[in-house]
Point group: C2
Chain length 320, copies 2
């Protein structure tokens, strides 16, 4: 019932809907209407109430709630089940738990803030309210060696999704950091649970500084992190950004199943931040340096040495 | 206190230890001694009691209990923590849970029986009492692509461990099934939790038909499964077999850290059941056939075609 009232108000943004209209349309008492309005306010809906005029949403709700995210979804599996938290330790931790309990492909965990947000290789990830912190469970029938391709797929989905709502120029730093100019806007932490022959589940965790106040950034990232709403003039709605990313994720996922990854990698290459740059990579077996020369069909970064040898690097942290 | 009484009886196998001796040595009353004896019996210790003679263990305890397994351990990390169950759904499931909660390297989960024992690729695994069903958590600092080497390492540890207590001829069917003659004696299910750059944890699950009555095998494995105690004249003790395997696992693990995997793979090749045979492999991308030609440095099975091309197969189910 609450959802129906929210829908009617959302369909009349900026206009008052009378309590009488709501009560007669939904066949509930005026008192019941008011109770639902109060509950919606508790959930974060900014509903104005005025005597004799009724109730009014002054702007589209900017809430990371399943019913708001679903307004923007046109998927068949991704986001069909969304678990929303006000605060959680880590959406990846929770998504892995759900995956181990057999959660369906496309299940999403999202939180307004994370208390123990994590980046790659056990780095901390600053995750206050205002950002979009979410994880998606995927269950492709692939061998573990192919999982890193999903890492690149996810970064492309985030770029494409953000670009549906904002025209900011984005690039991807291999394997999956999203940059806005020289600053990092979003990061991805992909984790897999697998047997030797097959992946059981992939959890794609995404963190986006969507509407994070950059003055709140901790010192160590102040000069290197970007906040989307400080770089774009468009009005931003968190559930819309998330919805668009989930749409893109499903599109790319389905495409990978039909056509394989070559087309996706080709599109990814169009956003390659490192291409042509002299970089170093800290790999598990030591530091390697050279000129970044794109990614190969396995998603590995190609590194060209001075002698023009090409080395493919599967994993590591890029310094540039 | 119970453990001290068990120790004294184990150190005097086949002999009676008087209640008085136990009571004065441990500074507890005769009544307290009897209470502990009763508890030990409840745990499965076969303790005889005789008036005026005292208490006697007629044979070494054959119990998968931490204190019994530890009698055979000479490790520094593997088996330092052992969680024992009378019955559990799956030791791998439980070990993965412990790993996600940050369990230490070398933590072991063992159960007298499993109700939902699993083999590779979601096959069921018959796991009644009498077998050894256990999982070990390892946390090597490696990239996910190297995890399959641990699969081979584990199979070698199982072979070496069993051969410490029995001289039966064992072979390994790539990647990790242990064969006694033409029948499967043990299987391994290795599962990983990983980021793209590094493994968080590896859970090595092992199932051994150590003292399973072969007449209890389900029809579908009656002709293909072996039970160790029906094939060997040596007296077998479950905690000893498990202890020896854990010793070997730690030895090989430490060796891999110091020297890499080449020596371990070379030893593995000495047990290669498939080498030289014409086989087919069902891989995620279809069936391939050829002559098995060993394993390469990544642990992949080499398959030689009629035109003498060599193909390296990373994952799949062998038909031979």
């Amino acid at each position: 019932m609450k959802e129906k009232i929210a829908d009617m108000l959302v369909n009349n943004i900026g206009k008052y809907v009378s309590g009488e209209a709501l009560s007669s349309r939904l066949h509930i008492s005026r008192t019941a209407v008011w109770k639902h309005i109060r509950e919606l306010r508790r959930k974060g809906y900014l509903i104005q109430a005025a005597p004799r005029k009724g109730y009014c949403l002054t702007q589209r709700p900017d809430l990371l709630l399943p019913e708001e995210i679903k307004r923007y979804l046109n998927t068949t599996s991704v986001g069909k089940k969304i678990e929303c938290w006000r605060t959680i330790d880590s959406t990846n931790r929770r998504a892995k738990e759900l995956a181990s309990q057999g959660a369906l492909q496309g299940t999403v965990v999202v939180s307004r803030e994370q208390t123990v947000g994590r980046g790659r290789v056990k780095n901390k990830w600053f995750s206050p309210a205002g950002g979009i912190w979410f994880s998606v469970i995927l269950t492709p029938q692939i061998i573990p060696q192919k999982a890193s391709l999903f890492n690149l797929l996810a970064s492309l989905a985030v770029v494409n999704g953000i670009q549906k709502v904002s025209a900011v120029p984005l690039q991807i730093k291999w394997p999956n950091d999203i940059y806005l100019g020289k600053r990092k806007l979003a990061g991805i932490l992909t984790e897999i649970s697998a047997e030797m022959d097959q992946v059981n589940s992939i959890v794609v965790g995404v963190g986006i500084n969507a509407k994070v106040d950059s003055s709140s950034f901790p010192d160590e990232i102040k000069k290197t992190a970007a906040s989307l709403w400080e770089e774009t003039e468009e009005e931003l709605f968190l559930p819309e950004i998330l919805g668009e990313i989930l749409n893109q994720l499903e599109l790319l996922y389905q495409r990978s199943e039909k056509e394989g990854f070559e087309g996706i990698l080709e599109e990814w290459r169009g956003y390659d931040l490192l291409k042509g740059r002299d970089i170093s990579i800290d790999t598990p077996s030591g530091r390697v340096s050279g000129k970044a020369a794109g990614v190969n069909s396995r998603g590995a970064l190609l590194l060209e040495s001075e002698e023009e040898n090409i080395e493919a690097v599967l994993a590591g942290t890029v310094i540039f």
